[in-house]
């Protein structure tokens, strides 16, 4: 599902050159949830951003769902994010003045999800225990609830890939466990592939596989 082949990312600041990723190879299969662990600055988030098409690699290629990502074509990158990739971030990335329902529906493009007044979206929100919070605003939700909204948004339109950057970083243990269960369940249910960046060993333990990255290179669990 996700195939990362010899990806290198180098940042240039004048004469200074920083190689953040030094030839990363990684594969994540359908229905698989992979934890990506490593110290700060090891290149975890950079790798996630490259897979999501937010930044381009200096070298190497990324194939998603059998299609090689063309980083030179901005339209295809928008299409990739629109159709295939859902994001979950540590700070939830919710829009404060939109209701729970609107925080999800603004990302919906497919007719199937728009039908009957976003019935499918409502059912997904109900599925994660938020049916009575549809008209609530983010400031009225707990962190766990906010992250559940973000997960639903990442899943709408039948996304194929879930990229999560420290999804449980702002949550307590109980909520972290619930979020991980939801992610795993939905990934299996929708036959997606998930890559989860985390520092938390408990969270990593709940994933199907753990990959360690150090100094821009995969050390274990390819």
């Amino acid at each position: 599902m996700i195939n990362i082949n010899n990806v290198v990312k180098t940042y240039y600041d004048g004469m200074n050159k920083t190689e953040v990723l030094k030839g990363v190879n990684l594969t994540v299969s359908e229905g698989e949830t992979v934890a990506l662990m490593g110290r700060s600055g090891s290149g975890k988030s950079t790798l996630l951003n490259i897979i999501g098409g937010l930044i381009s690699p200096t070298k190497g290629c990324v194939t998603i769902d059998g299609e090689e990502t063309d980083y030179t074509d901005t339209n295809s990158l928008y299409k990739l994010r629109r159709e295939k990739i859902g994001y979950v971030l540590q700070d939830f990335a919710l829009i404060s003045r939109k209701t729970v329902l609107n925080n999800v529906t603004f990302a919906v493009r497919s007719k199937a999800y728009k039908e009957k007044g976003y019935a499918k979206v409502k059912s997904m929100l109900a599925d994660v225990g938020l049916i009575d919070k549809l008209e609530s605003y983010p400031f009225q939700l707990s962190n766990g609830e906010k992250q559940r909204v973000a997960i639903v948004r990442a899943l709408v339109d039948n996304k194929r890939i879930l990229l999560a950057d420290e999804p449980t970083g702002a949550l307590d243990a109980e909520n972290a466990e619930r979020i991980m269960s939801i992610i795993k369940e939905k990934v299996k249910e929708n036959n997606m592939a998930a890559l989860i960046v985390t520092h938390d060993k408990d969270v990593a333990a709940k994933c199907d596989r753990v990959v360690n990255i150090e100094y821009g290179m995969i050390r274990s669990g390819k």
């Binding site: 937010l54 159709e83 493009r109």
Partner: protein
Amino acid sequence: MGRVFNEAFFDIKKHPGVSLLILVQISILVFSANFFFEVIGNTINQTQKQNAEIGELRHYALTDNLVGDYEKEFLKREDALINLKKFNAALENKDEYGYVEAYQSPLLIFDEKMPETTLLGYDDNNPERSIGKVNGEVACEVKGFAVTKGFMRLNPVRNSAGEIIPDSMYDEENGNVNIILGHEYEGIYSIGDEICAMNMGEKVISLRVVDFLEEGASVYYRNKYLNLDRYVLTVFPSDKEIPEDYEEYHSQIVRLIMKMNGEFVTKENPDDIQAFVNEACKEAHIYPASKVETSTNAQIAITGTAIDVIIKTFEKMLVILAVFSVASTIIFVSIKISRNKKYYGVLLLNGYSKKEIFAIIMVSFAIVIACANALGLFVYKLSALFTTIDSVNVPATIAANIVIFLSAMASTLFIIKETQIDKFLRGIND
């Protein structure tokens, strides 16, 4: 497209303060553009009309600043009369500039039978204040207008018989000062009557009625037409070379100061006129207004017909307005985008393209611009109740909107293009 519109409306509501600031700024611009074009346009039209009426010649009024302490000090100077004569001669003897003297000043007439409307106090609804006793005799203060032959040549007027009053009528005869009376004096005096009066120099003079003006006779004076129906038209008497007594000396001084309040009638530009006046002031030891060192000074004031000056000022103000509008729009756009950075980042993360973000910002801007136009034009129309402005200036409104929209578009495009998606996401939490 519906998605873009939804987000554009949300974008406006999200930071209402910023949206309101933009709305107010554009309203002010639309209002000022209309007001500015309308008022200036009217002035230019009026000036062009005036120019058409008075020909190519322009009138520049010369005004003396001899008042208060300066006047007292000046009158003490031994060379005051000589210098005033020198200055007056310089003005009158310059071929390039026609200098005509006219002076609107009260005249004290020792006679009780003045029509009430001709009294100076009539305009203040207090005609009684213009009747009093001077040296034991009843005197009336009436509207006087002292002219020269040159001034009347430029402003030919007709008498009650409908004939142009000839030059000779403005001559002095045997020490009598000729006067031509306005229409409202007809029936009260007859041609040949002699009237005893006192002029501004406080000298008793004898006035001889030589004619009556036709009803509605007027002259172009200080940028307006002065109706002479209630006026006594006097001529400036010629001065003797050397005054015989102090009364004569004082009278000459006053007359010469009056003559300093004439008009240049010329095709020349105001800068040249001003330079000439400055030079004449220097020669006669009379300093211009900017250098009040001695007891008197003189300055020039443009009273009307310099259309090129108006247009130049107009162009400068237009540039200032445009620069201000562009600068403020760019600032507001930067504030708006900076405050919405995270929001745009979230949209981008969820499949929105930069083109769509650009469209959202521009649609939200267009909505605010539309509201601002409505508000600006409403206030403009409201102000019409208190001013002379009338119609909405469509080209000015369109131009103001284009300036705003293009600068908003350019700055938005630049910021969006130059900012990476991950940088948007690093914006302040939404």
